[in-house]
């Protein structure tokens, strides 16, 4: 259990801190002034100190100075009403983790303590291992930019990932809207649903989305202001307003509110298909070539759209294989892991087509595919002898050998 020392001459503040941090699972000790704080630090080990500035007997900056002078590097988080820049700058020079200005919201205190304690844990682990202390954590990196050619998420990232990448955020106070959308959208798309605007903003602060769908009539919210906030938090997402089908000027009205366009309710399969094709299907890219690897891009449509996707793949395949020949490759890898497998036989036919095309120009093809596709390939004359691998890494290793 992590131990925190709160040093503040206000009993009320110490109580608030103790309550909040105990709920976080910390053990909290208290001191009324800097002298008592130093005494406690001398007699016990703490993972974090929460320190006020203005205190009788010995103030915060003086206590911090003496701590550092005697080699005590316990992380310190300032909790004070002092807002003079010069004082804060002096504290930064002495080494502090962060600053919480009173009066504060409990959420801010908890978030900053959580962050500081995680840093403390890393620092201690590194110190225990005898390595030099890591540099302070850099500012968080901006949300990942989408690739210039949008190939859709990888198979691994198609659902909500631990990295916080989800495809669609839906904000609507009607639960049935969420149910309907989840039933129509392909299962390969990750979807987050919120019933109110506040939850939507909270998610938008910590995750990155490719599309944000917002009910244009959310209660108690100025939608124009809301969409401005959303755009700053999600600079790369397409923002659509959901509204009841009606006037022909609906699209224009949504744009004037700040949306990119409108998604009319009730949803129809055709409208959703068009949405997917426009924003997720990687309109121009169905096969991506990287050196001698041809990667089939993900398909996000429904089963009855798969044949159209195969037609697009076949058109792209010819150019991709010719490019291999022009680059004088003898061998190449076809990464077909993301090939739609609604109909395994159809998938196998496509692969057979690829093998035939590449054979004509003298390029030997190795395949990366799912076990079910590999099994189906055994049933075709053209592909029964085809070398098949479970992962791209394995295929590359074999080519390199």
């Amino acid at each position: 259990m992590q131990r925190v020392l709160t040093v503040d001459d206000s009993r009320a503040i110490r109580l608030i801190v103790t309550k909040n941090l105990t709920e976080l699972g910390c053990e909290v000790d208290e001191a009324e002034d800097g002298n008592e704080g130093l005494a406690k630090l001398k007699s016990g080990k703490y993972d974090l100190v929460l320190l006020d500035v203005t205190m009788p007997n010995l103030d915060g900056p003086s206590m911090l100075t003496r701590m550092r002078e005697r080699g005590d590097s316990t992380p310190v988080l300032m909790l004070t009403s002092e807002s003079k820049t010069s004082i804060v700058a002096a504290l930064i020079r002495l080494g502090i983790e962060d600053y919480v200005l009173k009066p504060f919201k409990p959420e801010e205190l908890r978030a900053k303590v959580t962050k500081a304690l995680k840093l403390a844990t890393v620092t201690q682990a590194v110190a225990a291992a005898g390595a030099p202390e890591p540099a302070p954590a850099p500012a968080p990196s901006p949300p990942p930019q989408p690739a210039a050619t949008n190939n859709g998420p990888s198979k691994e990232g198609a659902t909500v990932s631990a990295k916080g990448k989800v495809d669609v955020l839906v904000i609507d106070d009607m639960e049935n809207v969420h149910k309907k959308l989840k039933s129509i959208l392909p299962s390969s798309l990750g979807v987050d649903g919120c019933l109110n605007a506040g939850e939507g903003l909270a998610l938008a602060r910590v995750r990155s989305y490719r599309m944000v769908l917002v009910d244009s009539e959310i209660p108690d919210v100025n939608v124009a202001t809301y969409i401005k906030q959303m755009r700053i938090l999600q600079p790369n997402a397409t923002c659509l307003g959901m509204a009841l089908r009606g006037a022909p000027t609906l699209s224009q009205e949504m744009r004037e509110l700040g949306f990119d366009d409108v998604l009319t309710k009730p949803f129809t399969p055709e409208v959703i298909d068009s949405l997917i094709e426009q924003h997720f299907a990687g309109a121009d890219e169905s096969i991506v070539r990287e050196d001698n690897v041809l990667r089939i891009c993900a398909f996000h449509g429904r089963e009855d759209r798969a044949e159209r996707h195969y037609a697009k793949l076949s058109r792209a395949l010819k150019d991709a294989i010719e490019a291999l020949g022009e680059a004088c490759y003898d061998e190449a890898i076809l990464d077909a892991v993301l090939l739609p497998t609604f109909n395994v036989v159809r998938a196998s036919q496509f692969i057979a087509e690829a093998v035939a095309m590449s054979g004509k120009i003298g390029v030997a093809l190795r395949l990366v595919a799912s076990p079910e596709v590999e099994k189906a390939l055994r049933g075709f004359e053209e592909t029964k002898g085809l070398r098949c691998f479970g992962t791209l890494a394995q295929a590359r290793a074999m080519l390199a050998a």
Binding site: I92, D98, Y99, L101, P142, Q229, Q234, R255
Partner: protein, 296 residues
């Protein structure tokens, strides 16, 4: 290395020049650049209770540079609709009075950062880039934390350093007059320059803002951005101060930055305004994606 005596002379010189400028500010005898005539007339019209957009469009059409900027702003991504507009009347209608006011102030202040003097030309341009960066950041921070009228924060950010090129130009003119009479080279040390500009630019900027009859809340944002106001946490002035520190940290600045002082401003600002690290990352990403537009 400069001797202590020389440092003392520089400090006295800086104080003398500062006194001259402050006296002129207080006596209202400072010669300041006027707002472009068309922009001034349109802003006066917009202040009045009855005006027609047609009348405003007709005025704007008489200044091609202002007209071009108004159309560009009306066709910006923030206001994009299917059809771009090439017509001043449509552009004015699309922008509306408040946004049009912002565009005109921006066009006018841009000119203040264009110097004919080669010695400060580059610094002035980079200062404009910094001012645009602060404006964008202040506006975005205001939007995400829920400060009303983020447009005020934008203008406050744009104009927070407007006094600097004016003071710099005054120093150059003074220097060249004295140099002509005494056949001397430059007589003001660069440290004195920096010190005088730093000490006086805010006051001069406020005089410009009042002379141009900018809205009171914009003037307040410029005035209040020197120190955080802990009593009024979510104010435009605080947003501008915070944005200034972020812009400096991200490299959108000309001049040296005291790192710990700047870090202090950022740490304080995050708590004051309620900005988390994640939100700050998004706002900075938004700025970086618009970096190439900052010089326009």
């Amino acid at each position: 290395m400069q001797s202590p005596a020389a440092g003392g002379v520089d400090e006295r010189l800086a104080q003398q020049i500062e006194r001259i400028i402050v006296t002129r500010v207080e006596n209202d005898t400072l010669t300041l650049p006027a707002m472009p005539a068309v922009a001034a007339k349109v802003l006066t019209l917009l202040h009045s209770s009855d005006f027609s957009m047609r009348e405003i469009a007709a005025l704007i059409e008489t200044d091609p540079m202002v007209a071009a900027q108004v159309i560009k702003s009306a066709n910006s991504a923030a206001l994009a609709t299917r059809e771009p507009t090439r017509n001043i009347g449509q552009a004015v209608a699309r922008l509306g009075a408040q946004k049009l006011r912002g565009v005109l102030i921006e066009v006018s202040s841009r000119r203040l950062f264009e110097s004919r003097d080669k010695r400060i030309l580059d610094a002035a341009r980079r200062l404009w880039e910094h001012s645009r960066a602060v404006a964008v950041l202040a506006q975005d921070v205001s939007v995400v934390v829920g400060i009303e009228e983020p447009e005020v924060a934008y203008l406050g950010g744009l104009l927070h350093d407007v006094g600097k090129p004016i003071v710099a130009t005054m120093l150059l003119e003074a220097e060249s007059q004295i140099a002509q009479r005494a056949a001397l080279g430059g007589w003001i040390d660069s440290e004195v320059w920096t010190s005088v500009v730093q000490r006086t630019h805010r006051r001069v900027g406020l005089v410009v803002a009042r002379k141009w009859q900018l809205p009171d809340d914009v003037v307040a944002a410029i005035e209040q951005c020197d120190e955080y106001d802990a009593g009024s946490r979510r104010s435009c002035g605080n947003a501008v101060r915070f944005a200034n520190a972020i812009a400096k940290r991200e490299g959108f600045y000309v001049g040296s930055v005291q790192a710990e002082d700047n870090d202090a401003l950022i740490m304080l600002g995050k708590s004051l305004l309620g900005v988390t690290d994640e939100v700050l990352g998004r706002v900075i990403a938004g700025l970086r994606s618009r970096a190439k537009d900052l010089m326009s």
